[in-house]
Symmetry: C2
Subunit: 641 residues, 2 copies
């Protein structure tokens, strides 16, 4: 074991530069290509067509709002800037490997407008500058002011890293300077923090570029201040002449601001906010070597995965607060499970794994990548889901655009930066978190190491990894053994390695003198699994979900010919897996024989005899591919017989 | 068979005068007493305490609204008048049998205020008179103007019938005269109708008192006009300077006004509205001898009971429109199933049965009486449910008052007028629809007939009915054989009657020369039934509901000691019924042995092995009694193993 396997909080694995990870001929090659070639350009087109970009016409008077302002005082337009930020970020990740002057020009045009609109003191938010300049910083509780700036900041960092152009970054550093002038613990400054977390993690990204301690200090201030009582939001409401008790969402738990973050024991409130907060907390645990933050992250991660997470990696069951309700409340048909929340869980889990190499984090990253986040984008790359239900009677259809289009750019930036999730490095150690055909290049103590993966993962469980390095070097390779896998094999240059001996916390650590051409082979048995939910999840009682490897399956009416809710799957029914090359670009499907509850002999709604059952073959498809064909019902949790 | 068993539309059974039906020592004795002694006085107290009665202070300027106006433009206060109307109606039904000068004085005080406030032209609605007199009759789509008047009218009719006092009735006749002056097919009149049905059935009640053909004609006009295109609501919105497309509920199906009532094939929209509409349609089918209306009622009743009705008799699953969604959509935990809707289904079903003696109607009346309507009131008679869910995790608690208190007075008026549902008469025929210990008096062709029932129904299935009449008379007695009963027995003076021969559409017809002291004995086998739902009701797949006789059962956490969602009921588990005298006034409970899914050995949310099961005894209690004890989870549809 290398001691980097259990890094101190000041040591972390550094994710690969996504521009140095390429995908070849496999699952992610296909998806990254779709997002790069279809999603990125069409998202800009939508921003244009739908009038979003007009909010950056700072010289002109603002137009009417497309939608009424919500009871909270928030309009969607308050945070259009965040969509530009996320789109720029998503696009930036593609530019080094696939230069695209047209896209770059579109980004530059946005940056130019932002620069022109920026106020003399650095303030930058298109809503307040154009509509209510005197109301800036008067309502952090409801209006997403710093949330929007945070996404612009993430975009600016990504664009700078992709192109080396500083203009956008400098605009955003000035905006951050303005925030530093306005907020902080010093006398005369406001002790506020945005109710929608985002700026905190963006500031850490900025700090990692600038190394300006003020950037880190601001993020730290926001996190430390969050949830302190008396609440800033109470004071702020009173300053606006409002009664804090009239707060639409009733509790600051909606924004994880009901108590200090280190004292929180249950993941609560708006799910995306919660995940962005936790992502920032991991970042700060590392940067500030703060075990109290790490402990809170551990506790809240455990609470999430043990009590509040859908089998798909979706989270936040309720539409009313876009978030969490009670523990174990995981309704299927009304699941909100916002795409953004699953994406953000990926951010959080990924950060945890870099600080504490443990597959229980990466397992959940993998879950959202193949299921609850990926389901947010259509196979054609230009239709989306906001809610990711686990059951439908056919009413849920993907849309081309949404009045609140936060999800499309979020899943896009996750996929265009996917390389960073596959590999990471710390000193002379290298971790392989995900298996995907392609190559990755990393620097390990100054040595360039290239890994080339050959695999049909996630459809097959065999992975061959070849190393390319100039000179032999003693390195530790950490190879993730996925949590879903009950039988794994590992060979190095043909020699079997005893996984039980070398595996800790779900990563097999192989330290040796590695040489050019060395080959690792991993074999993960990938049977069809029947998954059962904890008895406290009453919605899944008597039900079973099918998965294979990291992929969760569902049954769609388009395949079954009737509503999958009619199926009863015998507990011992054999289920076969086979690859269907013509299904939406190719996917492994599951087939088997189940029973179908018969309706023909029913006269009314209720009777004393149970429905008659007749055999019915079924096919299950990967959940992330659902709703890409004919409209119809869908079910993840099948009724078991 | 008497030919009155299949009455023409101009023949109907006339419900008993509720004041001539008394309950003695049984189920309904207890409930009618509670409502009379507790519910009626405390409801007036709530109306007073909560400031409802202040809206009748016509001389004073109106006070501030307790709640913001809804996006539709409606405030709760728009229809406070309806609560007075329903409370007066509920109280009136008790006054003949239980004179109560205090209650009568409170009613007279309300009537006096209404009379003082009534405008010179007869218009009567406290909201518009006090707040927006120039806006009266400008928005029938949203503001419940005639709905409120309709309930006052029902109250006035009931009060007149109870006391003979005409003052309230005369006030309301003047109000109706004003409506007749304003609305109708004649040139110069508005062709409008209220989006919340109610006035229509109230006008028929009035007509049955006044025999004034204008009262019937107005109700007929409203029904005939409903849903005609172009829509009155479109015109009306344009007159207000609004775009009809901005209608909050998007479709006039919300108010059953999307197409003419005779063309409707599916019960849609707001559930209470739908049931009030259908009740009026039955009334008018009879009064106008209109088979086209009866055909629509038949079609819509069948649609409701075959595709859209909870096993409890609850209806309207969705909170968003307080009504119907797609067919077979019957979610349990999010069931809206408003108390008022179940009460109103009772009104509709009862009316159908009087026109067409068929137990399929009375069966549903009985279902709501013992389940989905009665669940709306607590055993102590002063706490209520608005939503009647079929599953809870403990969050649903009964309230003492509600900002929209339509349900408490609705269930109260149903119970205080219960006698009318038990018996009815047509010519020389008498129908016994419900079994309840007590006596009823009816006039049959001028002869007084008294029936005395001795029974422990619904806890036991034996009923003895003794006749009291001065002289022997040839009469037909129609005795309902409940649809839930698979084995029934009937004797007359000890002699067995072959039910198969005499029963049609769920009523056994016995025509003979009946004499004083004749005794009928009915025996209804009452085993515990396991009910299964139609396979299209996906929420109930793999689940079973327990019922016995007309009573649907549920399991409560307070009895089980854990969430009933953890239970798995083996398909062959024997279940015992026994009467528990100390349970909330006495009730038959069900007990048996089931299995409990174990949580102790779970490490996370999902695993590949199903939960371990351990035996667990359970007790089920009548659904209508739930949430009268310690807070906790509840379940009607148990998971079957």
């Amino acid at each position: 074991m290398s001691d980097t396997a259990m890094p101190s909080l000041k040591t972390r694995f550094i994710p690969a530069d996504p521009a140095r990870v390429t995908f070849t001929g496999g699952f992610w090659d296909s998806w990254t290509r779709t997002v790069r070639e279809v999603t990125i350009p069409t998202q800009h087109q939508r921003l244009e067509e739908e009038g979003f970009l007009e909010v950056l016409d700072f010289g002109k008077p603002p137009g009417p709002l497309a939608r009424p302002i919500q009871p909270s005082g928030l309009s969607m337009q308050h945070f259009f800037d965040s969509d530009f930020g996320k789109w720029i970020e998503a696009a930036s990740y593609t530019l080094k490997t696939h230069p695209n002057p047209e896209i770059e020009a579109k980004i530059d045009a946005i940056v130019e407008k932002l620069e022109q609109g920026q106020m003399a003191d650095g303030y930058l938010n298109s809503w307040f500058i154009r509509r209510e300049p005197d109301k800036r910083w008067t309502n952090l509780r409801d209006l997403h002011e710093m949330y929007s700036m945070g996404h612009l900041l993430e975009g600016a960092v990504a664009y700078f890293q992709a192109t080396g152009k500083r203009r956008f970054l400098d605009v955003m550093i000035r905006a951050v300077d303005h925030i530093i002038d306005t907020f902080g613990p010093e006398p005369g400054k406001l002790r506020g923090y945005d109710a929608h977390e985002e700026i905190e993690l963006a500031l850490v990204k900025l700090y990692r570029v600038t190394r300006d301690p003020r950037h880190l200090a601001l993020a730290t201030f926001f996190i430390d201040e969050r949830g302190q009582m008396p609440s800033y939001y109470d004071e702020e409401a009173r300053r606006r002449g409002e009664n804090p008790a009239d707060y639409v969402y009733q509790t600051y738990a909606y924004s994880q601001a009901h108590r200090p973050v280190r004292e929180q024991t249950q993941v609560v409130g708006h799910a995306v906010r919660a995940m962005y907060l936790l992502s920032a907390m991991v970042d700060l645990a590392h940067e500030n070597d703060d075990p109290t933050l790490k402990a809170a992250c551990d506790r809240l991660f455990a609470n999430l995965v043990e009590r509040q997470l859908y089998v798909t990696g979706g989270l936040g069951p309720s539409a009313s607060n876009e978030g969490f309700t009670r523990e174990f409340d995981l309704p299927n048909e009304t699941a909100y499970a916002e795409t953004c929340a699953a994406v953000a869980l990926g951010f959080f889990a990924h950060r945890m794994a870099q600080l504490d190499l443990d597959s229980r984090y990466t397992d959940r990253l993998e879950t959202v990548l193949y299921n609850g986040a990926l389901s947010g984008i259509s196979r054609d790359g230009e239709h989306y889901f906001y809610e990711n239900v686990l059951e439908s009677h056919g009413q849920n259809r993907r849309w081309k655009w949404h009045y609140c289009p936060c999800c499309p750019t979020n899943i896009a930036r996750m996929i265009t930066s996917l390389g960073q999730y596959v590999y990471s490095a710390a000193g002379d150690a290298l971790a392989v978190h995900l298996y995907a055909a392609g190559t990755g290049e990393l620097e390990l103590d100054g040595r360039l190491v290239r890994l080339t993966q050959e695999t049909r993962y996630p459809w097959e469980g065999d992975v061959a990894i070849r190393l390319t390095l100039e000179n032999p070097a003693e390195l530790t390779l950490h190879l993730r053994i996925p949590g879903w896998c009950r039988q794994a094999r590992l060979t190095v240059n043909g020699e079997a390695v005893d996984l039980a001996t070398v595996t800790e916390k779900g990563y097999a650590a192989i330290r040796r003198l590695w040489a050019n051409g060395d080959e690792i082979r991993l074999g993960f048995d990938m049977p069809v699994d029947r998954l059962y939910a904890h008895p406290a999840v009453s919605e899944d009682a008597g039900r079973v979900a099918l998965s294979r490897g990291p992929v969760v399956y569902c049954v769609e009416e388009v395949d079954l010919g009737t509503e999958p809710q009619r199926l009863r799957l015998p507990a011992d029914a054999p289920i076969q897996a086979q690859f269907e090359p013509d299904l939406l670009g190719g996917a492994t499907v599951l087939t088997g024989e189940a029973l179908e509850a018969q309706a023909a002999d029913w006269a009314g709604l209720y009777r004393t005899a149970p429905p008659a059952l007749k055999p019915r073959r079924f096919k299950a498809v990967p959940y992330h591919l659902w709703a890409n064909r004919e409209a119809g019902a869908m079910l993840v949790w099948l009724n078991e017989k």
